[in-house]
Structures are given as structure tokens and as C-alpha cells.
């Protein structure tokens, strides 16, 4: 006997599908993507990355995302069990620490690990690259604060004047898109920053739906997929055969962020917050390019007029001494030709000079302790 099939109404099918889609889309508002980032194939199926994911170049199998948990979950730090003989050193900083144009082995962390030196009762130093391009002390504090759960024995914080201006603190997209974390830092460390600064991205309800956050979801997935390529190739950055060298001939400008003086305009409280974690910390004023080209009597390089940089060095040295910080001023460590495409990016040899000094610094902090 032929069974009677109930006729299917395509409009009802479409209506139901549309309703379910809407429901799913808006239910996503209540999903917190941040902890989802902890679900990672890195350190399980794929080895962890030697540095944070950054960049938007498909041919380097890398991407920038704003999910700090996902960034950490993809890092080798998250997958390395700390052994009793490991002396865990976390390197915090900008693109010069992350290693623009450098392979993981050529970065400061890579070169420190290659030294295979031990400190503090013969514990082997293992440095982790937690540098992240974009310049802002708040960005660095945010990473440092999150990194504390990985049992560091020491933090080496490499910084430069460009990270200090108060008006630059939220310019890093990583900071701007982590408003909630930034507010927590402001409250916790009582930072002199505006928690309602319009630069901090406030997602609307629509921005929090699935459609609104499709990019963030796709980034999480893409980060995992790129894990296969990172494992297969060991490449996480595009290395051009040729690039524009850092500027040597400079403009005859004394301007630095429109400031007359640095006094009162630098985020020293942010620095102080990072220095007060209770973990031994070595603060390093990183090397900069000191130009001998046109107008080098006015500026050191593209970033810094001499007056501002000199004042910064003086201020930082005074502040460090006043607070009793471990401080290394390595500003003039590398010769001009050891910089690559920027006044703060070193060549592999430049990094080796820096690594030697930082290694000495780590040993000295350890001894002092």
C-alpha cells in the first residue's frame, strides 16, 4: 500500500531555517570566545609556536588575532612543563623582541637558548619569546600579566621610548580590542589611563552575534589550520629577499608626539605595574639605531629627536634607580649597520650582541637575588 507522504512546504522549511539561524546568531552573544581560544591543537597535535602569531601574510602561515588566550595556547610556553632544572625567563617587548625579519633561532630568545647557560644553582636558562609587534607599554603589561601563570623565574622587559607616551597606550590593536582586560589592568594597578577611552573597542550587540564575530571565529580556526603549516615548514614570517633599510637621512624635525617635555607624558605607572609583579624583572632599554646621516644632529633616527630620547634615558635611569629596579641601558649597543628595516630591528649579529648583554644581565640579577 502506498504511504501518504506529508507534502513539504518549502516556505516553512525556509522559515524554520531562518528562525534557527537567527536564534543561533543571537545566542552567540552569550558565548565568550576568549576562553574558547584555550582549545588549541598547538602543543598537542602541533608543536607550539616559538613566538606569538602575528601578521597577515598567507605565505608566512601567520595571522594576527586579538584573542590573548588563543595566542598563549598556540605558544610553546603553554605546552612546556616546567622542570626543576629550568630557569624560566620570559622576554616581553615589541617587534624587536618578536623578531621582525629574524627566524625564531635568530631572535633574542633563540640566541639566549643557544647559549645554553645556567644560573641560580645550575638551573638552565630557557627563554620564551613573548614579544609582540606594535608599540605600547599597556600591551606589554597585558601580556606580562597573562604570562604570570606560567611560573616565570625572571622577566626581561625590553622597551623603548616609543612605547611610553600616554596617548599611544591604546593604539595597539591588541589593546584596543581587549577592552575588558585593559579595564581590569587599570583597576588592578590603578593606572592613570581612561577606562572609557573611545580607542577601546566596545562591541555592539550585533558585533557580538555570530555574524558580527565571524572574523574572530574564523581567525581561531585559521590559527589551528596554520598549525599544520607551521609544523610542516617551520615558517611563521615572510622573509623578503630585499627590503627598505631603516632611514638614515632624517627630517630636520624635533617633534616627538607634539610634546614639549616628556615629564608627565609618559606611562611610567604602567611600567611600574609591570615591574611590581614580585617576579625578578630585568628592565632593558633596547638598542636603537644612531644615525650619522642627514640631520642626525637633531634626531637619532626616524623615531626619536635627540632631545626627547636623551630626556627619556635620563628619566628612566633616575626612575629605575629610585625604585631599585634591575635596569640595563643598551641604547647604543649596536652599530648603525646592524639594524634592518627599522631603527629598533636588529640583524642576527645585532641580536647576538644584545643576547650577550642580556645573558650577563640575567646572571647578575640571579646573583643579586
Amino acid at each position: 500500500m502506498e504511504q501518504n507522504k506529508s507534502p513539504i512546504n518549502p516556505f516553512r522549511v525556509l522559515l524554520k531555517a531562518g528562525f534557527l539561524l537567527l536564534l543561533f546568531n543571537f545566542a552567540f552573544v552569550f558565548v565568550n570566545l576568549e576562553p574558547l581560544g584555550k582549545l588549541s591543537l598547538y602543543n598537542r597535535l602541533f608543536p607550539g609556536r616559538e613566538r606569538f602569531p602575528f601578521g597577515e601574510t598567507g605565505d608566512a602561515y601567520n595571522l594576527s588575532l586579538f584573542n590573548l588566550d588563543a595566542m598563549f595556547a598556540s605558544h610553546v610556553l603553554a605546552g612546556t612543563e616546567k622542570t626543576p632544572d629550568e630557569y624560566r625567563v620570559l622576554l616581553i617587548g615589541d617587534s624587536s623582541v618578536w623578531g621582525t625579519l629574524l627566524t625564531p633561532e635568530q631572535t633574542l630568545a633563540g640566541q639566549l637558548n643557544a647559549k645554553r647557560f645556567s644560573v641560580c644553582g645550575r638551573r638552565m636558562v630557557r627563554a620564551y619569546n613573548l614579544g609582540y609587534p606594535t608599540i605600547s607599554l599597556t600591551k606589554e603589561l597585558m601580556i606580562l600579566d597573562r604570562a604570570l601563570e606560567y611560573q616565570p623565574d625572571m622577566i626581561v622587559w625590553l622597551t623603548t621610548l616609543e612605547s611610553f607616551p600616554l596617548d599611544k597606550q591604546f593604539e595597539s590593536p591588541l589593546v584596543a580590542n581587549n577592552a575588558e582586560r585593559v579595564r581590569q589592568l587599570i583597576t588592578e594597578y590603578q593606572l592613570p589611563l581612561n577606562p572609557n577611552d573611545p580607542a577601546l573597542v566596545e562591541p555592539s550587540t550585533w558585533d557580538q552575534t555570530f555574524v558580527g564575530r565571524r572574523r574572530a571565529v574564523a581567525d581561531l580556526v585559521r590559527l589551528q589550520i596554520y598549525g599544520a603549516l607551521w609544523t610542516s615548514t617551520g615558517i611563521d614570517q615572510y622573509y623578503p629577499t630585499d627590503y627598505a633599510r631603516a632611514q638614515i637621512d632624517l627630517e630636520a624635525s624635533k617633534d616627538f608626539h607634539g610634546l614639549k617635555t616628556l615629564q608627565g607624558n609618559l606611562a611610567l605607572e604602567v611600567l611600574e605595574a609591570g615591574m611590581s609583579t614580585g617576579i625578578p624583572t630585568l628592565l632593558v632599554n633596547e638598542p636603537i639605531l644612531i644615525s650619522n646621516g642627514q640631520n642626525s644632529d637633531i634626531r637619532y633616527n626616524f623615531f626619536y629627536p635627540r632631545w626627547a630620547y636623551d630626556e627619556y634615558r635620563r628619566l628612566l635611569a633616575e626612575y629605575a634607580s629610585q625604585k631599585g629596579w634591575n635596569y640595563l641601558d643598551l641604547w647604543n649597543l649596536a652599530p648603525m649597520n646592524e639594524f634592518t628595516n627599522s631603527g629598533v630591528h636588529l640583524t642576527p649579529y645585532g641580536e647576538s650582541l644584545l643576547a650577550a648583554e642580556v645573558a650577563r644581565g640575567i646572571q647578575s640579577v640571579c646573583r643579586a637575588k
Binding site: I8, R222, L229, S232
Partner: protein, 471 residues
């Protein structure tokens, strides 16, 4: 086809399927297909070429219809209507140059006077060639050769580059920036094969009389424009001529097929594309295991990409009452290479079998002194080389074709040997043999993709060495 184009195609197909009947449907599909020729055409760096390339497709299509149709066929009401629609669409697209933004093409169409001159020349060429085509049978062969020549130029990077330089010189543009990719001609591989099929069937008297609108829709049918399948004209037109009553079931089946295709293409294939073997990974990949991973990813990416597009095409066509032929039937689950080729890009294989392999085999059998196995080897190699060259005239496609030609030959020999020497055995042994056959066939095909995926033989060699742990 991108997502926007697919969405627009779904919407217009639903409207055409639901609202039009009989000849109206054919005319609507004609307009849509012609517009799709312009809209889907990728942008090319030569000025207005994204208009001229589709226009040339339409001119070719018209010319071949006139050449292949009965004398005076154009005078029927249906054909005159079709002709007016075709000219009307071309002129309308050109007139969009007077809108603030190009509405159909990617860049500004040319001045109307240029189009008028082109139309006059095209009409002149058709009028002059018609008496020849009626009187001399070789005229159809000549047109076929012309189509093959176009394909050869477009598929050969060196010739394509020369053609680009030629056009750039003609247009007084710098030739230093010329590239082989300058002349990307949407769907020409499929369009040319449809046209050649029509010409060959006309020559052999197998082609039924087709009206101009039906013929034009067959050649430029928008769902099958960019990735096939290659239907047969008489089968396609039968669908067009049949009364199409859109039912709920029909729309649901079509919808499911499109959804499946979208998932295959835009979720599975596009994800796999991120990790699939390519020229860069051929150099950068540093371990045997991961190289196999990239190769598997490529094997599945190409399958899901291509079969996904086919699903979308079949689904879209069903919305307007056309049942396009299947192109893939689980090819990676087949226990031998012959069965793989009977289920992978089936319409291309069938085309090649009908218009090359069978005639070629008949021809070579004339050389009676050749042993049968040599004839088979030559036949398989020639056929697969042709399929390889259809994808592009490069050494890697030649190697890919040769790989499969030899594979088919060896498999054929083995089958003959096995039939005679190996007893069927118990069902368990048969199953094991079948599974072994599937795995072997899949890996043979996957290794063949090493040639297909990469640009140069030295890269392929490098990958082969890495795959087998050497180098």
C-alpha cells in the same frame, strides 16, 4: 563563481523556474546566460577586455550556429527573436558604460561605435562564410581547428603571453607588464568543447536541428559556465523543450544539492586549500609525513572544489528544469583506475571518449602489424595526454597525462592477467582485494596530483623525493 554570483544565480533561477513556461523559459535563460558571461568574466588588465572576451564568445556561438544550422533556419520567429535578444543584451551591456558605475562588467565597456563596428564585422564574417559552409564540408573542420587553436593559445603560457603582448602592442599599452594570465577567458574550455561537439555531430549527421535560443543557452548555460559539466546538446535541449512544472520536491532536491555544493566548495575545499600542496610547500615542507599530509589535502581539496561546483551547477539547473549530467560518482572509492576515470569528471571523459579515444582507436586498428598491447598503450597515452593538455599546455600536465595513460595501460594488463590466473577466492579475500585496490588507486591518483598541483617538473621531482624520504 563567488558567493554573490551564486546567490544571484539561485534567486534568478527560482524566479525563472517558478514564473516562466515554454519558450519564455528559454528566452529568460538566454538573457541570464548571456549576462552571466559578462558578469562572471574575471577582470583582465587589458582595457575593456572583460567586455570583448564574452562578446567574442557570443560571436563564436552565433557563427557556429549559423554554420551548423539548415539554410534559412534563422528566418523562423523563434530564431529571429533569439538573435534580437542576443544583440539586445550585448548592446545593453555596452550601454552600461553610460551609468556612473559599470553594472555588469568589471570595468567600463567600450564606446558604442566600437561595438557597432565589431557587430558589423561579425555579421559580415558570418554572411561571407555561410555559402562556404553549405558547399564545403571542410568548413566545419576549419571552424573546429579554429576553436582548438584558440584553446591552444589560451592554454599555453608562452603563446598566451605572446597574444597578450600582441594585444598590448595593438592598443599601444606597455608590453613589459604583459602576462600569460592577461587573457583569462571565462569557461572557454567548456564552451569550446560544447561547440566542437556540435560541429562534429553536425558533420556526422547526428545533430538534431537546434533553434538559436536553445543552442545559445546550451553553450552558455550559466550554472555550467565556469566548471561544467559538459552536457550533450540533444539531451540538454530535450530538457529545455519539455514542459517544466516546478514542484516543491524539485525545489527541495535542487536546494539540497546547492547546499551540499556550497558546503563542499566553500567550507571543505577552501579550508583544505590552506594546507594543500602548492609550489611554496613543495620547497618549504621539511618532512615526509607532512608532505603526504599536503598531498592528501590537495587530493581532497580538488575533489571537493570541483564536485562542489558541479553540485551547485546541477542544483541551479534543476531549479530551471534542466537535469545536468553527473560529473563525479565517488571516484576515490573505486578499486581501479579505469573505474576512477569513469567516475571523475565524467562528462569530460565521455567527451574525450566519443570524439577522440574511439575514433583514434578505430584509426590505429588500421595498422594491423602493431601488436594489440601497443595499440592499447598508444590509445591510452594519447587520450590521457589530451586530457592533460586540456588543463594546460605545460610539461607538468603532459607528465600528469602520461602518468594516468601508463597507469590505465598497466591496470588493463593486470586485469587481463588476473582474470586468467587468479581465482576469485572467498568473499573475504575479495573484499580485501577490493579495499587494497581502492587504496592503491587512490594513492596512484594522489601521486599523479603532484604533477597537476605544481608548476614545474623539478618541483614535482622534489616532492616525489620528499614523499619517499629521499632528499
Amino acid at each position: 563563481m563567488g558567493l554573490t554570483q551564486i546567490a544571484a544565480s539561485i534567486l534568478t533561477s527560482i524566479l525563472v523556474g517558478a514564473l516562466t513556461r515554454g519558450a519564455q523559459r528559454t528566452y529568460s535563460l538566454l538573457v541570464l546566460s548571456l549576462l552571466a558571461l559578462y558578469w562572471f568574466q574575471p577582470v583582465v588588465p587589458l582595457r575593456s577586455f572583460d567586455f570583448w572576451i564574452p562578446t567574442l564568445t557570443i560571436a563564436l556561438l552565433l557563427w557556429i550556429w549559423f554554420v551548423a544550422s539548415q539554410p534559412g533556419a534563422w528566418k523562423t520567429k523563434q530564431n529571429i527573436t533569439g538573435l534580437l535578444i542576443i544583440i539586445g543584451v550585448v548592446v545593453a551591456v555596452d550601454l552600461t558604460r553610460y551609468l556612473p558605475e559599470p553594472a555588469v562588467t568589471s570595468s567600463m565597456p567600450p564606446r558604442f561605435i566600437l561595438l557597432a563596428a565589431f557587430l558589423l564585422m561579425a555579421a559580415g564574417a558570418i554572411v561571407i562564410s555561410l555559402p562556404f559552409s553549405r558547399r564545403f564540408a571542410w568548413m566545419l573542420s576549419l571552424v573546429t581547428i579554429l576553436l582548438i587553436s584558440i584553446l591552444i593559445v589560451l592554454k599555453s603560457p608562452a603563446l598566451s603571453l605572446q597574444a597578450s603582448i600582441f594585444f598590448r602592442t595593438l592598443m599601444d599599452r606597455p608590453t613589459e607588464t604583459a602576462s600569460a594570465l592577461d587573457l583569462r577567458w571565462l569557461g572557454i574550455s567548456y564552451i569550446a568543447f560544447r561547440l566542437i561537439h556540435v560541429l562534429r555531430d553536425k558533420q556526422t549527421g547526428r545533430l538534431p536541428e537546434l533553434s538559436l535560443p536553445e543552442f545559445a543557452v546550451y553553450v552558455a548555460f550559466f550554472p555550467a559556465l565556469s566548471a561544467g559539466p559538459i552536457d550533450r546538446a540533444e539531451r540538454f535541449v530535450k530538457d529545455l523543450q519539455q514542459e517544466f512544472v516546478p514542484t516543491t520536491e524539485e525545489f527541495l532536491v535542487a536546494g539540497q544539492r546547492i547546499a551540499l555544493g556550497l558546503f563542499k566548495k566553500f567550507v571543505v575545499a577552501d579550508t583544505l586549500a590552506l594546507v594543500a600542496l602548492n609550489d611554496a610547500l613543495a620547497v618549504q615542507g621539511n618532512s615526509t609525513g607532512w608532505m603526504w599530509f599536503h598531498l592528501y589535502a590537495y587530493a581532497f581539496q580538488i575533489y571537493f572544489d570541483f564536485s562542489g561546483y558541479t553540485d551547485i551547477a546541477i542544483g541551479l539547473a534543476r531549479l530551471v528544469g534542466v537535469k545536468l549530467p553527473e560529473n563525479f560518482l565517488a571516484p576515490y572509492a573505486k578499486p581501479n583506475l579505469t573505474q576512477f576515470w569513469n567516475t571523475w569528471h565524467m562528462t569530460l571523459t565521455q567527451w574525450i571518449r566519443a570524439y577522440f579515444f574511439n575514433p583514434f582507436n578505430r584509426w590505429i586498428r588500421g595498422y594491423k602489424f602493431l601488436p594489440a598491447w601497443i595499440m592499447l598503450l598508444i590509445g591510452q597515452l594519447a587520450t590521457m595526454l589530451l586530457i592533460g593538455l586540456w588543463h594546460g599546455i605545460t610539461w607538468n600536465f603532459v607528465l600528469w597525462g602520461a602518468w594516468h595513460g601508463l597507469g590505465l595501460f598497466l591496470q588493463n594488463r593486470w586485469s587481463d592477467f588476473a582474470k586468467m590466473k587468479i581465482s576469485p577466492g572467498n568473499p573475504r579475500a575479495q573484499n580485501a582485494l577490493k579495499i587494497g585496490g581502492v587504496l592503491l588507486t587512490f594513492h596512484f591518483v594522489a601521486l599523479g596530483w603532484v604533477f597537476f598541483a605544481l608548476g614545474k617538473p623539478d618541483l614535482s621531482l622534489r616532492v616525489f623525493l620528499k614523499l619517499f624520504g629521499v632528499g
